[in-house]
Symmetry: C2
Subunit: 342 residues, 2 copies
């Protein structure tokens, strides 16, 4: 039995996408689970009624497992994390995350302001000891298998020690969410040799060799597309949040662009294009956990549809059921200061 808190107010298509996503999830997950819709209760109540009077009417029996949690403030996409942390203590993010900190919820999901979610998650849930910053870990579809790429945007300037921390927490993610045993870790660089890369990456390479992780060595941009380097497939790619974010956003945009190009050339039908896009669709994954916080905080894309929200709820459930956060805490404590052999 898990209780998943969802920021009903977060995202470009909220609250209808969030409420509909919650209903869709309840229709698919085990009946022991409950969803806590956090936000302005009047708005949420009206949205539930409206969704259940339309195409989702068949989900009405599941609505009893929806709970509404009042949060009087909302955070806009343009607001600065530093001001909202203390400036909006009754935001849907604060309220949802405090439920978890107080043992009244098991996970939190938002498609709202990512920077705010990171800051408030770290503030309310706190970080596991041994970690200096949390990381956003995103799943990339590749030619071969899905891989975890982190950090994909939380930290723009990373120390070598932080890159090693990302490798540790990313490995737990690959185990618990993707079901990989003894995940293979690659370090993004501009050449496979240990001496290639910027200063932080070169030092991180040396630390990773002594980290006890299943470290494959450096991987390059092309290897990310293939899910494998010359040394074989890998499960986790570690990089700083600047390059990770650039790659993620480039990938999100180039995939539909290329597919439209093929479709135009080859005279494909809309249905054929849609079938391919579905394979690559980020909404299939739904959410990227903010790894390192004591608890579960799932970051969803601002443009999340109800299906993306539904899938984010499933990711949250897997994180709760696999006890991912506990495993991350244990893994970090086994390795002193986040795993950088001091």
């Amino acid at each position: 039995m898990a209780r998943i808190a969802l920021d009903a107010m977060g995202g470009d298509f909220a609250p209808s996408a969030t409420v509909a996503g919650a209903l869709l999830a309840l229709g698919e997950i085990d009946r022991s689970h409950r969803i806590q819709l956090v936000g302005i209760s009047d708005v949420i109540r009206r949205t539930i009624d409206s969704e259940l009077s339309g195409a989702l009417a068949f989900l009405a029996p599941h609505a009893t497992r929806l709970e509404i949690v009042e949060a009087t403030e909302t955070i806009e996409m343009s607001e600065k994390p530093s001001t909202v942390i203390r400036g909006k203590p009754n935001s849907s993010m604060h309220v949802g995350l405090r439920l978890q900190a107080h043992g009244q919820s098991d996970a939190f999901i938002s498609a709202g302001n990512t920077g705010a979610q990171m800051a408030i998650s770290s503030h309310v849930l706190r970080l596991h000891p041994g970690l200096s910053r949390p990381a956003i870990s995103t799943v990339f579809p590749t030619a071969r298998q899905q891989i975890v790429v982190l950090d994909s945007g939380a930290n723009v300037d990373c120390s070598p020690q932080e890159l090693v921390q990302f490798a540790r927490v990313g490995s737990v993610y690959a185990e618990d969410i993707l079901g990989r045993s003894n995940p293979v870790v690659g370090l993004l660089s501009i050449g496979e040799e240990a001496e290639k890369g910027n200063a932080a990456v070169k030092e991180a390479h040396q630390l990773l060799l002594r980290s006890g992780l299943n470290f494959q060595g450096n991987v390059e941009g092309r290897d990310i597309a293939m899910g494998a380097s010359d040394r074989g497939p890998f499960d986790v790619v570690v990089c700083d949040g600047f390059v990770g974010n650039a790659l993620l956003k480039f990938y999100e945009a180039i995939a539909p662009t290329l597919i439209q190009l093929v479709a135009k050339h080859a005279g494909l039908s809309h249905e054929q294009v849609a079938a391919v896009l579905k394979q690559l669709d980020y909404s299939e994954q739904g959410g990227a956990p903010l790894l390192g916080v004591k608890g579960v905080s799932i970051i969803s894309h601002g443009k999340s549809t109800s299906r993306a929200i539904k899938n984010a709820i499933k990711v949250a459930l897997r994180a709760v059921e696999s006890r991912m956060s506990e495993h991350i805490g244990r893994r970090l404590s086994e390795n002193g200061n986040g795993g950088a052999v001091a």
Copy 2:
């Protein structure tokens, strides 16, 4: 009348791809131009004979515009730039670039060891004043128009001043090679706001605002795929060589991967797939100039086919005929220390 020196020994498919590429180019470019094949003359002579006795026999009349320049040493892909600069003074790279330094050639092209080519180019040709390092500028196909991305691998850790220098030389490239007037420059970051990015990018943003360049502001990974941000299309994207290289290599690998995926789903023919891949084919561009050296040094992909070499020769010709290097020198001298307003 231009004289283009080609490293006959450089690249995975040399010397047959380089010699065949030279012959193909001579068949298409103005008859006033000559190509200097630099390398071990016996090997080059034999390769010319063999190419002209096969499918390229029809190009035999053009072979008179081929010149062979002896270079007794070759540089392997695995050799370190630092050791070959002085350690192999008679390499095909040294000899080809020295021709240019001595006024006996107008451009140099190699598909060999990129690090060595950068180092030897800077050493032999020297840099334009106002520049601390040269940059590799690559053309990316986008949903809209081609754009120039630099640096794509020469410099992994870049100062804000260097990013501004890249913006200046990249703008000249967009003018002279892509024919854009008053090119629009974007700075790669992880958000469009000026305060988003790592430390170097945030400072570069401020310097670019005062640079006199047509600076659009920050662009994100997704904008690179589209060739445009919310503020409109752009011609040049500036980034450090670490992220530029990761994006370039990712793009090179993800495009065929995605297209094969579509082809499988939609039952496309090989011919249909080939037609699309051609649009995105990097060999269509052929070469990336090392911008900032006094002269023309074109870096071709190690896997260059004869067609890629042919196209690299055409890029070199455009650089020579447009007087790109001279324009870069003038642009930098107009702006003091590489354009960072001191």
